[in-house]
């Protein structure tokens, strides 16, 4: 089975492979990445090539993996309120992922529900961005990572509320409300820590410098993005990038933090090329479901 066969069945207009913005890419060019996906799909499991399914996996996996990362703070929060807050945000994100992956499974039409997609895909079939799979680090890093993603997430959900696909629009309208709470929370922490003590400022600036290399991937546009626009899912990275910049610049200014220069950006998550951290995360997240397949409680 090839990715093209699967994609061709559900997309009426299959967009040609395009590689926008690849000039600065030191790792994987989009064209090569699509080839990579095909060979991986051919050897490791079912093809997930239909553009809308592929797109929904990206949206869902971002929330699933970040939700899992946040859940790792449960019982370890720096203060009780933050222990509760990170668990709350994790719950929202995993709930959103559940809705999105359920829809992806329905559209795929191979009988896979959200649990099958979450627990029985290997790392190479996950489509989340690299940013969300990075280890929690200290609390400052967790909040910087959260902020950089939340600012993207709010804009992405807002765009998806205008999708002509009713299922996508409904999930987006619901999730947008939650994402706004997350963004406010993480923004406030970035400001509090950045404009805090000498030590908190230094730590959160370091966190920002470390996480920045993963932000470029959020705005890379490839054939999947082009194809879903044709299917009525108006996701335009260029449009949201300028608004993301405005939010980030505003918060960093209030936080007295310096916006890092755009150096080489790490990417690969959208095509299944992940950092080693994802494998460890999945080992924890999937072990129970894989050890006891079909178990109910």
């Amino acid at each position: 089975m090839s990715a093209d066969t699967s994609a061709g069945t559900s997309a009426t207009t299959r967009a040609p492979k395009v590689g926008h913005g690849d000039a600065d890419d030191v790792g994987v060019a989009t064209g090569q990445a699509v080839e990579g996906t095909r060979s991986v799909a051919g050897t490791r499991g079912p093809v997930l090539g239909a553009p809308l399914v592929e797109f929904l996996l990206r949206v869902g996996d971002d929330r699933l993996i970040l939700g899992h990362r946040l859940s790792e703070w449960c019982g370890h929060g720096p203060i009780l309120e933050e222990d509760i807050a990170t668990a709350n945000m994790a719950l929202d994100l995993i709930g959103q992922a559940s809705s999105v992956l359920r829809l992806a499974g329905e559209i795929e039409g191979q009988g896979r529900d959200e649990d099958a997609l979450a627990y029985f895909r290997d790392g190479v079939l996950f489509r989340n961005c690299l940013l969300v799979e990075q280890p929690n680090g200290d609390f400052g890093y967790t909040m910087v990572r959260q902020f950089l993603f939340d600012a993207f997430s709010v804009l992405q959900w807002e765009a998806l509320t205008r999708a002509t696909h009713e299922g996508v629009a409904a999930i987006a309208a619901k999730s947008l409300k939650e994402a706004k709470y997350h963004l406010r929370h993480s923004s406030e922490w970035v400001v509090r820590l950045g404009d805090g003590t000498v030590e908190s400022h230094a730590k959160v600036q370091h966190a920002l410098d470390s996480a920045w290399r993963f932000t470029g991937e959020l705005f890379v546009r490839d054939a999947v993005d082009e194809a879903v626009v044709a299917l009525g899912v108006p996701f335009d990275q260029a449009a949201i990038k300028s608004r993301w910049d405005a939010i980030v610049d505003d918060v960093l200014a209030r936080a007295t933090l310096v916006r890092p220069a755009d150096g080489p950006m790490q990417r690969g998550g959208r095509t299944g090329r992940h950092s080693e951290h994802l494998g460890h995360l999945l080992a924890t997240m999937q072990i129970v479901a894989r050890s006891h397949p079909g178990a109910r409680w």
Partner: protein, 165 residues
């Protein structure tokens, strides 16, 4: 052969408390969107989640089922919809008063769609215990997905707010 009426079905569902905020019913919470009764006695209830990850949805579905079967429903079907997205604006004045009496400050007005508010001016939340408006937000994330944590400077009591969504 049971002959459950639409009115009886509504009444039965109206007795189902929210598992996490038992002061109000699932109907008062606004999550029951539609109730339909067929001639054969099948009741179809449409519900919508408060938050995407609300873990109480399973419990709520079970409780609705039980209440309807006890009220004479032959079969119960519970459907979940996401659109239109639930909002705290659907919680009526009586239910808000019940929340306050239970020790949970009722929600303010939900913010308009699409607005990104990084540093909104926060509304004053009155303490549900002593009524003081000298209160402080401790965290926007509380004991359940739908609540925020405040502390009253007047009576020194921590309390929950049902947060606007």
């Amino acid at each position: 052969m049971s002959t459950i009426t639409h009115e009886r079905a509504l009444e039965a569902i109206g007795t189902v408390p929210d598992p996490e905020v038992p002061a109000i019913s699932v109907v008062e919470l606004g999550i029951v969107r539609d109730v339909a009764v067929s001639d054969a006695g099948t009741v179809t209830v449409t519900i919508t989640p408060t938050y995407s990850g609300c873990p109480a949805m399973f419990e709520i579905e079970k409780d609705i089922r039980t209440a309807l079967v006890e009220a004479g429903a032959v079969a119960v079907e519970v459907r979940t919809v996401l659109s239109p997205a639930w909002t705290t604006d659907w919680i009526g004045p009586e239910a808000r008063e019940k929340l306050r009496a239970y020790g949970i400050a009722p929600p303010g007005r939900a913010e308009p769609e699409g607005l990104i508010t990084l540093t909104r001016a926060r509304r004053t939340v009155a303490c549900p215990f002593c009524g003081s408006k000298d209160t402080e937000l401790r965290s926007e994330f509380g004991s359940t997905a739908c609540k925020a944590i405040h502390v009253c400077r007047g009576c020194r009591q921590p309390f929950d707010e049902f947060k606007a969504l």
